[in-house]
Symmetry: none
């Protein structure tokens, strides 16, 4: 089965938003053995969208449109489908009621113009969304092909992809599969990962080995194609074991298991609690820990102490440290971790301090950073000079702090807070 993805929106062609949907849908279709052969993107123009639809249907079995389903006048995907397939739009009472109910629940007035979202091409199915207000559309032209239209907002697209499109297509393909596993590697440079795995990479065809690097993390992707998901997984397993053997404890997570999920799992399993003392990350570390549902079981809270006064007053960093080594130092990171642990009476404290940039701080260049973890009778510290701009440096600091917390937790025992 061949698929084509068409992104709709003038803002894509102006470079104002990234068309991330195309990549995300492609990856999920690959998982169920559907080959994506083309991406297209066009602006909010009925004629061009209709032309893109006709082209896509001429060469693919399944076409997925993203975007242009909102309530405003520049949302013309519905009209373009009607034009491309010669199926006039009909207003659908069930969708109308659904929209009115959505607004009632949010205690807001529904503008009448919103009702264009209840328009459906003749003979098409529709998908009522859980998130947002834009219904999706499913049209089956007479030639056995299939056209989906889903919203451009990633979270709304994702819902229909997972709940409707993937199960429907998976049923149609009879389950052939491309399976990928992603090993998340922290604390090793991409080039070093490449060197360690070079022979596997050179030999790879099925499964294939690929790398993708971002701040502080390298993802190693292993992909295999087989008639079933199980067979594809069985092909991946020996390669995965070899990669893990070579990279050891630098492999910190699998697939969607981010570092914060891995850390959260370790904390929850050992029933330990943590609090964060943040300088340059300014709440970003706590926020990442809190991204994980259920984080309130182990994350007690955080103090963002930007100024020396806050570091001293709230976290108990000593005058000696502040006036001596300064706030970008091992001593300061350690005292911050200890201080926040005492303040929240948690088992662990974790801290970040350093220079996000663009300016120097206390004579230290942007990128210079320290992270520390404190537990009963034990402390760990990492020093690093991170590359990149302000945002990148702050992300590095988050990753390094999470990774230090992970490795600290992996070396038992971490004693319980007595407080």
């Amino acid at each position: 089965m061949r698929a084509e993805i068409v992104g709709i929106g003038t803002e894509i062609l102006l470079g104002q938003i990234a068309n991330t949907n195309a990549g995300e849908i492609s990856a999920r279709l690959a998982d169920i053995g559907v080959d994506v052969t083309h991406h297209q993107a066009v602006g909010d123009n009925v004629g061009r969208i209709a032309e893109a639809i006709r082209l896509a249907l001429s060469r693919a079995d399944v076409v997925i449109l993203t975007g242009g389903l909102g309530p405003t006048a520049d949302d013309v995907t519905r009209e373009a489908i009607a034009e491309a397939l010669g199926r006039p739009l009909r207003r659908h009472p069930e969708i109308e009621e659904f929209l009115r109910e959505k607004f009632r629940r949010l205690e807001r007035d529904m503008p009448e113009s919103n009702l264009v979202q209840a328009d459906v091409p003749e003979g098409a199915r529709y998908i009522l969304p859980d998130r947002g207000t834009a219904p999706g559309l499913v049209v089956e032209p007479d030639d056995g092909k299939r056209l989906y239209a889903v919203p451009g907002v990633p979270a709304e697209m994702r819902e229909m992809l997972e709940v409707n499109i993937l199960p429907e297509l998976s049923a149609l393909t009879g389950g052939g599969a491309i399976v990928s596993r992603v090993l998340r590697v922290v604390g090793v440079a991409e080039a070093r990962v490449g060197e360690l795995l070079d022979d596997l990479f050179q030999a790879s065809s099925n499964p294939t080995v690929a790398y993708l690097a971002s701040e502080g993390e390298v993802r190693v992707r292993l992909s295999a194609k087989a008639s079933t998901r199980e067979k594809a997984l069985a092909m991946i397993t020996p390669v995965e074991e070899e990669v893990r053997r070579r990279l050891g404890d630098r492999v910190v997570g699998l697939d969607e298991e981010t570092l914060e999920v891995a850390v959260g799992r370790l904390l929850a399993e050992s029933r330990l609690t943590v609090a964060c003392a943040e300088s340059l990350t300014a709440g970003g570390l706590a926020s990442r820990l809190a991204d994980v549902p259920g984080a309130s079981a182990y994350l007690a809270g955080a103090v963002v102490a930007y100024s020396p006064e806050a570091k001293r007053g709230l976290l108990g960093v000593s005058d000696q440290t502040l006036s001596g080594e300064g706030s970008v130092s091992k001593a300061c990171a350690n005292e911050m971790a200890r201080g926040v642990r005492a303040l929240f009476s948690t088992d662990l404290g974790v801290s970040t301090t350093g220079v996000a940039g663009p300016d120097e701080l206390e004579g230290h260049p942007p990128g210079e950073l320290w992270v520390a973890v404190a537990s009963e009778g034990r402390e760990s510290t990492t020093h690093f000079r991170a590359p990149g701009d302000r945002a990148q440096v702050r992300r590095w600091a988050q990753v390094l702090a999470l990774d230090l917390l992970r490795s600290h937790l992996s070396q038992p025992p971490v004693g319980r807070a007595s407080g």
Copy 2:
């Protein structure tokens, strides 16, 4: 002048790498008045790439290909150009010498297979790169059109875009420009924005009006095309004024001025300081304020108080509130804002409390949230029921808190902290 961008690489169609080049090139072309009408992406397949080239050349004046210029066997862009345009490849001695020299400088042996990068379609120009080893190609078919092929690695693409493509195209267009202004609107539903601006939208062709919604924010984009940047701006100005008149103080920022930048500007101008007390946003609010370079001048810090104990112990929320109305309440939000203001001795305190989900909290459903701002003798509060999942609810809370801070600051006077 119309342009089309073709991304080449099977990894794009597998969703393994994002095709960020398309958006980046689009934005830069818009700056010099070149209309991008289509994006395409195809895999590493000579036939399909050649087909994509022919389609693009049939409807655009300029076609930019990215990717497939590397030295390995899956890099077939050169062959595809040769096929599409009927121009056989010739090995070019100057490129060959350039490649050998690159490798000599890196003190590595050059595999002979690398020499395919010295192949150039007959009659084409080539661009020697500063970064990387992949030369770019420039082909001018007989019909006055132009085809560029540049590497897929963003940094290598960017070099040829800036040094070669943009200056050449800018000279051809005589300096025409598309200018966009983006008005950031907070606290109004997308459909309501659409209604308020409907006649402007309907009447719009140059400048055009378009909308883009995300959690808590609608961006209204005005784009004008003219022979110069100044003329395009002059066409936008009256429409922008009319939009501002209709949306009033709901317009919170312009172009890249995000809400946190707008708030930061207000704080810096009035030399006021702020501290954050965060429950459901868990540091995300402070982190967003700190995204702005120079934020340390006004952001003193934050307390993330996830648990009732932390709300009581660190922020001084009263037992009466915690055991009565509970932590998802106006009283709790107000006391948190007051408490953090006192703790950091700042002019303002801002707080978030509510239910991120997925589970209920103290009988309140996910999405229920309160934000508050406290300054000397004045308090502001907002209640909201946010749609979406955990991550979306938390982003809504950040936006609402920043917006409340903005409107609080816009109603003078905000007294200075005495402490």
